[in-house]
């Protein structure tokens, strides 16, 4: 977060802190942090990127800081987006007003692979489809944020937000005494409250919430078990649940216990072999029938993914205007769809200025950063785009903001992004913080951990 020659004000004291830290202490702290991460077993895989389960994601001790007023604006923007995305989901599985009004092309929605006819006509409790919305943001100026993408299914990485904070507090307690940093520790209890608030109507008494995991071979298993532990709920696999009568039950040592809310960390296709993929061993046969008849809640709702598709993304500002009657607070990055002839022509003519991504790509692979590419790479990509235009989208290179980061030679600016986690239930909540990813290589814009990215603690200063 540099501004002109210096850093922005919220960073004031931290620069001194980092300057005053002797090199030995710094490397001591760094290895202490690593030992802590290794000990708790938090592993490499973030955002489903895969990678070696035994590798640590690099942790940068220099926190990223937001002033209270900066955060307040961002919070409004993220909540606005989460509301609009849920309104959109309710609409397209209901009457489809936004499509009828011609604001979004029908085909983009209904032919989308993530559109689930199995939930058409069903309104989940409180009208919420996406209960945890992860919004990936970058900053380009003091009060200008762009949304890179929305994650409406089961955004991962929140365990890093909590563990990064935990480790910073353990290693630098003084910093937390000197600065008034808003806490994030209540995220698990907020998440639990959010999930409980969408219990089905048939639920009696205190809702029983569980997390459904594909199992311990999954790259995000650590996060699943961490969240279960922090929320004090059972971490179940598909085989632990079964459907009988109007409800879903969990196999326990005392006999079956009814389950009311399932926070699932498995994909739609695997939830129920009687409704989706017949060969799924991870799901619960009959679960969708219980869900549709109001016996259990599934978070996020199957079909929520249609709202975070890269093609739908373009229309989120439109959704905000349509459903909320508000002006979008956060901006979308202008996006060219190579599938459209005009856009494709523009992209090919301006390749050297653009970032090109695969439509279904992730993890920073298969990406072109025009300004940093040589002529041969540009030519290669131009050929790829001509061959399969529908497989690519392009965006302008943003002047991403940077944040002070510990490097070999001291402290230097590095590019960062941010994923806050918005909780949507009876109320809508955003804990003051998120996961900051940092591109540790000088000048790099790629923050993915598989490509030399790291993570930082994210501070929001209390008023």
């Amino acid at each position: 977060m540099y501004e002109g020659d210096g850093v922005r004000s919220p960073y004031g004291g931290l620069l001194e802190w980092s300057r005053d830290m002797p090199a030995e202490l710094r490397s001591l702290k760094q290895s202490e942090a690593e030992a802590l991460f290794r000990r708790i077993g938090i592993t490499f895989a973030v955002y489903g990127e895969g990678g070696s389960p035994d590798r640590l994601i690099p942790f940068d001790m220099f926190p990223r800081v937001f002033a209270a007023d900066e955060w307040a604006r961002l919070e409004r923007g993220v909540k606005q987006r989460a509301r609009a995305l849920n309104a959109f989901l309710c609409d397209v599985y209901g009457r489809g007003e936004i499509v009828r009004a011609g604001r979004i092309p029908a085909r983009l929605v209904y032919r989308n692979e993530a559109y689930e006819t199995a939930v058409c006509g069903f309104v989940p409790p409180k009208g919420v489809y996406s209960h945890i919305v992860g919004v990936d943001l970058v900053r380009t100026a003091a009060d200008e944020f762009f949304v890179l993408e929305d994650n409406c299914r089961t955004p991962s990485g929140v365990s890093y937000m909590l563990e990064n904070r935990e480790i910073m507090m353990r290693m630098f307690p003084a910093l937390f005494q000197e600065n008034r940093i808003a806490p994030v520790e209540n995220y698990p209890s907020l998440l639990r409250r959010t999930l409980a608030s969408v219990a089905p109507a048939k639920c009696e008494g205190e809702p029983r919430v569980v997390i459904l995991t594909p199992g311990h071979f999954n790259s995000a298993y650590y996060e699943h078990s961490f969240l279960a532990d922090m929320m004090g709920v059972e971490l179940v696999e598909g085989a632990d649940l079964f459907v009988e009568g109007d409800f879903c039950w969990m196999r326990t040592t005392e006999g079956p216990k009814r389950v009311d809310v399932i926070y699932r960390r498995i994909d739609d296709a695997f939830i129920d072999p009687l409704c989706f993929r017949q060969d799924s061993m991870l799901g619960v046969p009959g679960l969708m029938n219980v869900y549709r008849s109001g016996g259990v809640s599934i978070c996020s709702a199957p079909g929520a993914g249609v709202a975070d598709d890269k093609a739908i993304y373009t229309y989120v500002p439109e959704m905000i205007r349509f459903y909320l009657g508000e002006a979008p607070i956060l901006k979308n990055v202008p996006t060219w769809q190579c599938a459209k002839d005009d856009d494709c022509r523009y992209v090919l003519e301006n390749l050297a200025e653009l970032v090109v991504k695969e439509v279904h790509g992730s993890g920073g692979y298969g990406m072109l950063i025009g300004p940093q590419a040589d002529a041969a790479t540009l030519a290669l990509f131009a050929a790829k785009i001509r061959e399969k235009p529908w497989n690519y989208i392009a965006q302008p290179t943003l002047a991403l903001s940077t944040c002070p980061t510990f490097v070999e030679s001291g402290v230097a600016p590095r590019h960062v992004d941010l994923r806050p986690y918005c909780l949507v239930g009876e109320t809508i909540e955003l804990v003051p913080g998120g996961l900051t990813r940092v591109a540790l290589t000088e000048g790099s814009l790629v923050v993915n951990s598989s490509q030399g990215g790291g993570v930082k603690d994210t501070w929001v200063m209390a008023e």
């Binding site: 029908a106 058409c120 009687l274 008849s293």
Partner: protein, 282 residues
């Protein structure tokens, strides 16, 4: 026409299973073409579970059986009063947007043979959406001869078209595939057919396609019989393909080997002699 239906499906497991859960899409649809006089689905020893009307308008029921389960006997019996609406699904309430039925499935991929047939059929077709739909149904009927035993449950539209032979499932998959590549929403429908003594040997447990025709709505096309559903048809439910529309979807927990037998009869209630058909599947 008043049709009497008796439909028994028996699953046997050896060794017995820990438990069985099934989802049934086996209640006649509610629309102007048919009225249920009475209808029952019985599964001996089963716990009845969640039931609801889904977005496509189908009534779905869940049953579960506790292990050890060596046999599941699903007995459907009922009487339905039907009317000929020339295939039009009039007065059917549903919320799934027709465009959602444009997406191909594994069984209905738009492969070369599919595209070729669609192009050829539409080249000769008259103007108008309805004429185009008829042209596609006719082309599929010409392209696939009715021949039981040559295709299997997993046969795709393209495979059946290449082979040139198949049963009602293959006709239907082929029609869905050619309709979808032609931008016509299309879905798989299951039900019963009374084919009478002289009506040919087509299955009493039947499947056909519905195509969405702008201005009219969903219209049934039975390419296997070169007609649109009339009063001899009873409609149960629909899906994106045979798997999605299956009257019974089930999962048994355990290592047992499954064997299934089906016995279906559809008879006009006035008629005493019944037309029945059995099949065994191992």
């Amino acid at each position: 026409m008043r049709l009497q239906i008796s439909h028994e499906t028996v699953y046997r497991f050896d060794p017995p299973m820990r438990g069985v859960v099934q989802s049934h899409r086996m209640t006649p649809s509610q629309f102007e073409g048919q009225q249920v006089i009475h209808w029952s689905i019985d599964v001996a020893g089963a716990e009845r579970g969640a039931s609801f009307r889904d977005g496509a308008g189908d009534w779905i029921k869940t049953v579960s059986l506790l292990g050890p389960v060596s046999e599941v006997r699903v007995m459907v019996q009922g009487v339905v009063e039907t009317r000929d609406l020339s295939g039009v699904l009039r007065g059917h309430r549903e919320t799934v947007p027709p465009d959602a039925y444009l997406r191909p499935t594994e069984a209905t991929q738009p492969e070369v043979v599919v595209r070729a047939l669609a192009e050829q059929a539409l080249a000769d077709a008259e103007e108008g959406a309805l004429a185009r739909a008829h042209a596609l149904a006719g082309a599929v009927a010409d392209a696939i001869d009715y021949r039981p035993g040559e295709t299997a449950a997993g046969t795709t539209a393209a495979e059946a078209l290449t082979l040139g032979r198949g049963v009602c499932q293959d006709h239907t998959h082929a029609l869905l595939a050619v309709a979808r590549v032609s931008d016509i929403p299309a879905r798989y429908v299951t039900g019963y057919l009374e084919s009478g003594a002289d009506g040919g040997a087509h299955e009493a447990s039947h499947a056909w396609a519905e195509l969405f025709v702008d201005g009219i709505g969903w219209i049934g096309f039975d390419a296997a019989n070169r007609c649109c559903p009339d009063e001899r048809y009873v409609r149960l439910g629909s899906g994106h393909d045979a798997q999605g529309a299956a009257p019974i979807r089930g999962v048994a927990d355990g290592l047992g080997v499954e064997a299934m037998t089906i016995d279906v009869s559809v008879t006009p209630e006035t008629q005493s002699q019944s037309q029945s058909q059995s099949q065994t599947q191992q």
